[in-house]
Symmetry: none
Subunit: 194 residues, 2 copies
DNA sequence: ACCTGAACACCGTTCAAGT
DNA sequence: ACCTGAACACCGTTCAAGT
């Protein structure tokens, strides 16, 4: 059913997780009745992923602008990895055979090559971008408080403690990811100019 | 207790997961009896984290050289995450409370701050480095053939296909990681100069 | 066709009771 | 001091029974 996927997405967005009983309750129904419409929890996750990827087609980049391509690819990959947290590690440690995904990587490589990156850089470059997108995806599921300092009310706060105090936990992962994207693209630009 | 951490690590290495009942059973004891020695599941994970990082002492870095610190930190974090593959996702999704680990992050923040990075950049910066190190660690366990092209012997090979043909699978992850480190540090240098 | 309620096999954790 | 066994509040999933 489509409304189940809706409810699951809503639940994930509000509470950060979803369980079958809670999902059923939000639909005014019993957990067991969900199984009349879907095969199980995993199918719901798959449905959400499908919806997510359909939402973000990869065609939206400026032709010839490799920096634009990197940014949208990183965002796309992160979203994909985010959508199925438990499946992420599996995707990441399995040979990619899906033609559409292959052609996505191929397109990146081609554009990098045309932009002037050396052939022997292509694989390190793409692997590296992939690693970052994947790490950032898991970072998205990190707890709000990444660091918890031992209580010590005598000493003055360290730079990290001050930064934590000023930090908005709700947007930390997102900002860190975007910051990282910019840094990587800057680094790539520098590298391209030898 | 120390033997609990041992058993948990052993369980993770063999089965890829650990639960309190199974952990207890592997020690010939009941799940509830574990709570005489540790406060709960999270503490066991924290103990494993501490042990993991103690195993990989921080390299001697040149004092004041933030670029040197970034490089050795990235290498340290990656090796730590690599050492027990199944542990990575657990560590990454739990609040860090271990004092030694906290102080490691604190040291990075302090040095970045002294190097001239803005306070509001510290958390994105550190999160981003962490994401990359973690992603690179999981990339290390990726299959030798990351991409598998559909067979098509008529068309000429794409840049990615040529790059794959010239690629040494045994060192791909390592080279990609080092390449990424350089790119990130370059990006950081550019960012520091506004 | 769709829902319910009970049941099953799991979790992590608590606590009174034993030794 | 340490362990046990029962209990609690959760999971995801199955299935006979109802409408």
């Amino acid at each position: 059913m489509d409304s189940i996927t809706d409810a699951a997405e809503r639940l994930l967005q509000t509470t950060g997780s979803f369980t079958m009983p809670k999902l059923a309750k939000s639909l005014g129904v019993t957990a067991s009745s969900l199984y009349n419409h879907i095969s199980g929890r995993e199918e719901i996750i798959e449905l959400m992923r499908g919806r997510l990827l359909a939402q973000f087609p990869i065609e939206e980049t400026t032709p010839g602008d490799w920096q634009d391509l990197v940014l949208s690819m990183l965002r796309l990959m992160r979203r994909a990895y985010c959508s199925v947290p438990a499946l992420g590690p599996l995707l990441f440690t399995q040979t990619i055979t899906h033609p559409a995904v292959i052609s996505m990587y191929d397109r990146m490589a081609t554009q990098f090559s045309e932009a002037g990156f050396a052939d022997e850089e292509l694989i390190p470059l793409i692997s590296m971008l992939d690693s970052f997108a994947f790490g950032a995806a898991l970072d998205h599921d990190a707890p709000h408080d990444v660091w918890e300092f031992p209580v010590a009310h005598d000493a003055e706060p360290s730079p990290l403690q001050r930064a934590i105090a000023d930090n908005d936990p709700a947007t930390r992962a997102e900002r860190s990811f975007e910051y990282g994207c910019r840094l990587l693209i800057d680094g790539m630009r520098l590298q391209r100019e030898r």
